[in-house]
Amino acid sequence: MVLSLLLLLLVGVLEAIRPGAVTPNWFRTTVLFAAPLGILAAGQTLVMLTGGIDLSVANVATAAAYIMASNARHGDLQAVLLGLAVGVAVGLVNGLGIAVFQAQPLIMTLGMALVVTGGLTVYSQFAVTSVPSVPGFIHTLGAGTVLGFVPVSLLLWAPIAVIIVVGLGRTGFGRLLYAIGDNAAACRLAGVRVWQVRLVNYTLCGLLSAIAGLVLAGTINTADLGLANTFLLPTVAAVVIGGTSIFGGSGNYSGTIIGALILTVLNSVLTLLDAPEPIKQILYGAIILLLATAYTRVLSDT
């Protein structure tokens, strides 16, 4: 609620700085840029609800997009499936390490991020013979528009959002995520197979990251080795601004969606202000910090 008001306030600021800036076309570009971040942050939300974190989401997104683009000549469907398979595979390994071997999520996913990035660089040098190209329908998915101002990526993001929001609130799996984040030991004593839930959860996160990578490649209409790498910290920021506790157990995906929108609008406000890059970065960090502080105060007051 407070968050939505904040989002409206930011949009108001935007309109005040540059009257006439908020148009259907502005809506279109905002959603276009928010969609990859929002989908990427969806996976991050799922793992953070269990008290974990995934530092490999951005690298997985890049790898999925690059592998899809470099296999486009074998057929679009196969390319997309290969890209998604990368996400599932990395997510599965993350899940195995964290759920079965009890590795700390932060360092496990950091290690996998190194493996993915390094592996991708090697792959790009030895296995890629043709220029990577983004399949046409992925480009439409990432950058196309229907009905004049509704981005096609919203038609993918919205169902994903609905599934996650409903899944978290209404299904046993969703409620288990909250329970594990709250008290994993108690869950185990209550008979929950915690490791299975964690394994599935990290695999889902990997899959969502891969989807986000494909959408992003479509939006930009190219896939290079650094495609999504700047997205890692914003995903964490979107989840935290959205009110999900970094210790797990509380929060939801609808907050993350607004968090991703806030970050995107914030970015366009800073761009409109024509602030130089360093100032933009400083303001970005300071505002995230202020939001997080405000949120902690509000939560501890109620």
Partner: protein, 328 residues
């Protein structure tokens, strides 16, 4: 129980039990050095020097991270702070003489100390989880570094660079290694033995218990970030010495690599467990891996993959070991 058994299992001496991980890391370092000499027989003084030069900034980033992680936190500003101090030093030292450079270095250290204290006070006063605060602050410090120097540039007097780049004592003992040992020992040994050092470990292992035994938890947390700022500033100065210039993006690599290094070095991310010796050796191991790959004629890009696999295996083994100890 152990007492009930007829054949007592082998119990290693207490020293080995307490420092098992550190001993293991040094054994691994020794093994990788022997391996390096085996695959590259001409490995000599020059290679040792480049290894020390490469490991110096990483080891200092690890030292900065260690202090905070021991206290039960995490500091994602280590890399950006190294960049800030790196560009600050390089910009101020351009065309200066050695004496001025040393003076500038001291000022940069003080600034690093202040920046760390600033981070720490936000962590303490905002009551926001430290990972979030330092994540946001990493954007801020990254922006500050870009404000100071837009693109790589600046410089430092040759004598100042030689503090790390020369081999004054013997060709086999690079200055970078001596610098690292002296600097870390000068900060860490007195700290470790002091009340503050004890408090650092105490709040890392159990904050409530530490508070109950009279430790000023917010103050100690703030001091941990301050010390981290000091080590990061030394790391930034080390970057100025080893590269001779300042680069606003130089630090981006060191935040997460520092975390990986300390985990390999036996510091528990849960806080309260580990020391400074392990991470130092780990920094050398992680620097040696890409060099070895070049000697083997393998694409150095595999280096990242192997580093990643080493880290993943280490945390899995560590996790399993903890599990077995719990169930035993």
């Amino acid at each position: 129980m152990v007492l009930g058994r007829v054949a007592l299992p082998f119990v290693p001496p207490r020293f080995v039990r307490r420092h098992g991980w550190t001993i293991g890391v040094y054994a691994l370092l020794l093994a990788s050095l022997i391996f390096t000499v085996a695959i590259h027989p001409t490995y000599g003084a020059f290679d040792i020097k480049s290894l020390a030069l490469g490991a110096l900034p990483l080891a200092l980033a690890a030292a900065a991270q260690t202090v905070v992680v021991l206290s039960g936190g995490i500091d994602l500003t280590v890399g950006p702070l190294m960049a800030v101090t790196n560009v600050l030093a390089a910009r101020a030292m351009l065309h200066s003489n050695f004496r001025d450079a040393l003076l500038i270095a001291v000022l940069v250290l003080i600034l690093g100390c202040a920046a760390g204290a600033f981070n720490g006070s936000i962590v303490v006063f905002s009551r926001v989880p430290d990972i979030v605060v330092t994540l946001a602050m990493s954007f801020v410090w990254g922006g500050v570094a870009l404000l100071i120097l837009e693109k790589p540039g600046g410089g430092a007097p040759l004598d100042f660079q030689n503090l790390a780049q020369e081999t004054t004592l013997s060709p086999w003992v690079p200055n970078a290694l001596i610098l690292l040992i002296v600097v870390v020992a000068a900060v860490w040994i007195p700290l470790r033995g002091s009340r503050l050092g004890l408090a650092l470990y105490a709040i890392g292992s159990d904050r409530t218990a530490a508070h109950a035994s009279g430790v000023n938890v917010p103050l100690v947390r703030m001091l941990a970030y301050t010390l981290s700022g000091v080590f990061a500033a030394i790391g930034g100065l080390a970057l100025t010495m080893t590269t001779g210039i300042g680069s606003p993006l130089s630090g981006s690599f060191y935040t997460l690599s520092g975390v990986a290094t300390i985990v390999l070095g036996g510091v528990s991310l849960a806080g309260g467990k580990g020391g400074m010796l392990g991470p130092m050796a780990a920094a050398f191991i992680l620097t040696l891996i890409p060099a070895d790959l070049i000697f083997l004629g393998i694409d150095p890009n595999y280096g990242q993959v192997i580093q990643g696999i080493v880290i993943v295996l280490v945390v899995m083994v560590g996790g399993l070991a903890t599990l077995r100890r719990k169930s035993a």
